[in-house]
Subunit: 425 residues, 2 copies
């Protein structure tokens, strides 16, 4: 890890800089995937699956029986763990149920805002070496609480043409309505356009590689909502002198093991911490099965010592970390300084992995500085808010002249007449 002590403004700029991942070069590929899926539907999906996942599928949809049977095929301890996580995530998201807001803005003029669930949502879960069942919990639990009617989940099948039992179990817990074996940009195209097996959805959620990201951006251009832009995962750990180097190093490494492109930053006001954490990182690294990946991530990571807490939080808010750990006994004192972050982990006993799996918060979070304007996935992500207004004749008689003046100033006489015709004597 590169170490900075009292970095200059230029250095800070380079510390908080993310690698730029443009997907522009994929535009042509993505467009051809979308047009294939549009013209031949399921057939296109099966052909892509055969090519990229090396599996010949008869059926894209996983049968309800198979999903139901999964419960028997996973270890009881894993099942119990998933159930505990489910409960915490369910409780935290359930508490976020949005309310109707109603205001009588003036006599005879009532306005309200009503949250209405998005009717059909699509959840994408990447494949790869391990079954990412935790992301199903994070996306499907709030969809279920909101009351989305169709919850479509797409994930690529394994080489055996199947979905791992842990994922099937979570899909059954969360009552996924359509579990589809299809991955990559073709899965996003299928949910954006609809095929014989995969229903068209209104909003697409979930992480993925650059093809998936490019496909989600393409779907956005076609008018579909998406959860957020996605980039490599990140953690920033801040500590004063009361942090515990062993835990800090473990947190940095838990992020570094995600992928070679993971972003890991340690910021402290205590110079001794830098040396101690560095030593811990070195020794703990040896124990990790994914050591090689972690080393690559650490090679472009930074440890920064700044003169005081304000400098630290200026840097942190500029960086806007996806995950932000405050490794300190006085963590509460710093909370008001936080302006930009996806999710915050407070104190020496709150590792990022708690939020990754089971504390209750969502782990689908904005990366690459998007936390300045984007929220992580939350219950509200599964609703749209519709506004209503109801005006009485008396209300319109009072408000009407203002509407007429403003409409005429904007040269929209038709707008004025829609009022004058209603309030003429």
């Amino acid at each position: 890890m590169k170490t900075y002590t009292n970095p200059t403004l230029e250095e800070i700029k380079s510390i908080i800089q993310r690698p730029v991942f443009s997907t522009d070069h994929l535009d042509a590929v993505i467009q051809s995937v979308f047009s294939e899926v549009e013209s031949t539907g399921d057939q296109a999906l099966k052909t892509f699956t055969s090519k990229y996942d090396e599996v010949e599928l008869d059926q894209i949809i996983v049968s309800p029986e198979e999903i139901k049977n999964a419960e028997k095929n996973i270890p009881v301890e894993l099942k119990r763990s998933i159930d505990q996580a489910y409960n915490n995530i369910y409780q935290f998201h359930k508490a976020q149920i949005p309310q109707i807001v109603e205001v009588v803005t003036q006599p005879g003029v009532i306005c309200w805002q009503k949250p209405v669930p998005i009717s059909s949502v699509g959840l994408y879960i990447p494949g790869g070496s391990a079954p990412l069942f935790s992301t199903i919990l994070m996306l499907a639990i709030p969809a279920r609480i909101a009351g989305c009617k169709k919850i479509v989940l797409c994930t690529p099948p394994g080489k055996d043409g199947k979905i791992p039992a842990a994922m099937l179990y979570v899909a059954s817990l969360c009552k996924i309505t359509h579990l589809c074996m299809v991955g990559g940009s073709q899965a996003i195209a299928a949910m954006a356009l609809g095929t014989e097996s995969v229903p068209q959805v209104d909003k697409i959620f979930g992480p993925g590689n650059q093809y998936v990201t490019a496909a989600k951006l393409h779907a956005f251009k076609l008018g579909k909502a998406i959860d957020m832009p996605a980039g490599p995962s990140e953690v920033l750990v801040f500590s004063d002198e009361s942090g515990i180097p062993e835990y800090i190093a473990a947190d940095l490494l838990s992020q570094a093991e995600h992928g070679a492109d993971s972003q890991v930053i340690f910021v402290t006001t205590d110079e001794n911490m830098v040396t101690q954490v560095e030593q811990e990182v070195r020794s703990q690294l040896e124990l990790l099965p994914r050591k090689e990946i972690a080393i690559e991530a650490l090679n472009h990571s930074s440890m920064v010592c700044v003169p005081d807490v304000n400098d630290a939080f200026n840097l942190i808010n500029d960086y806007a970390p996806e995950h932000f750990i405050i490794a300190s006994d006085r963590a509460d004192d710093y909370l008001d300084l936080i302006e930009n972050s996806g999710s915050v982990f407070i104190g020496n006993y709150t590792p990022e992995s708690a939020g990754d799996y089971a504390s209750g918060t969502n782990h689908t979070l904005p990366t690459a500085g998007a936390a300045k304007a984007f929220s992580g996935v939350n219950l509200g992500s599964f609703y749209k808010k519709i506004t209503f207004q109801k005006i009485t004749k008396e209300g319109l008689t009072d408000l009407g002249p203002s509407i007429v003046h403003m409409a005429r100033e904007e040269q929209l006489e038709g707008h004025a007449q829609a009022v004058t015709r209603r309030i003429k004597q």
Copy 2:
């Protein structure tokens, strides 16, 4: 207007179909605008303004004195109208202030979600024949209530190198922090990238032509948040036999006068209504200064008579109108049938123009069916929600084993160790 009675499924599909506006052909132009603005900043903006708005600007920023003086330069009746609209919009948005949600998900595990205002936002207001001061009210009032620190407004100058007095007055009411004379895609580029005069922002709001839309999509790809995709404005009016043809026609025309690409649909369960509304449209059309524009819009608009209310609402929810007027004495009876709409206008005395200007609701709304998943601009659009979690050692001791099981199932040993190191005896 094309008339359908008891349309077939195929016909309904064509009625609800929007014209597809792809901005792909503008990608190269937009990229060159962004790279010009990135490399030469204000100079690029001045050059574009000279080329497209035919004005040579010394200063891009409008001075605080000029903004302050605007109050004296607008008619007192217009000022009073704007003030009334301001108060209603302020009240309705103020009532939407989001709260912290806190849950103890299990003993020793506290999670909360905190809404935090987006620090800097950019509002785009198009130029053109009339000053669109109403859109400033709609975007700047919630930004101000949320507490955004920088509220940057970009709008092209008139041929006289100035901003109309009504817009300056609204800018002063809403305490815009940076009022910039720059329009088109270069304004979006300036807010996305920052220049000497125009501050970089985290989220960009506001309507515009296809260049502005393409530039907003480009900014989104660069990681900036945007309010929503934008398309031509729309109204759908539904009526049973208790609607008033004169008012319905006026509402249809108030949308049609917006632009030749405006979308106007009338749906009714009463066949007599079709003839009566058609007659009214024809006679009222003659009185509109923007008659030619309205005729073009009406040429691709539809009147649809369906057998019953359920058919009507199936069509309406599939269409997901930006503006939805229920022209009926029994409007309240239909409200529960609404699944998708931007803003709803209830009863015979609630014209769309009330919401366009002054009822209190926002007029920046999702078009082209985006109302299925997008909300109109609302107070929440100016916040992101940060999650927090705080776990005690005892809490982690109880939750830890579940995290460890799940992390190991996902083959992330580092995630497991971040827990085991903290709860080892």
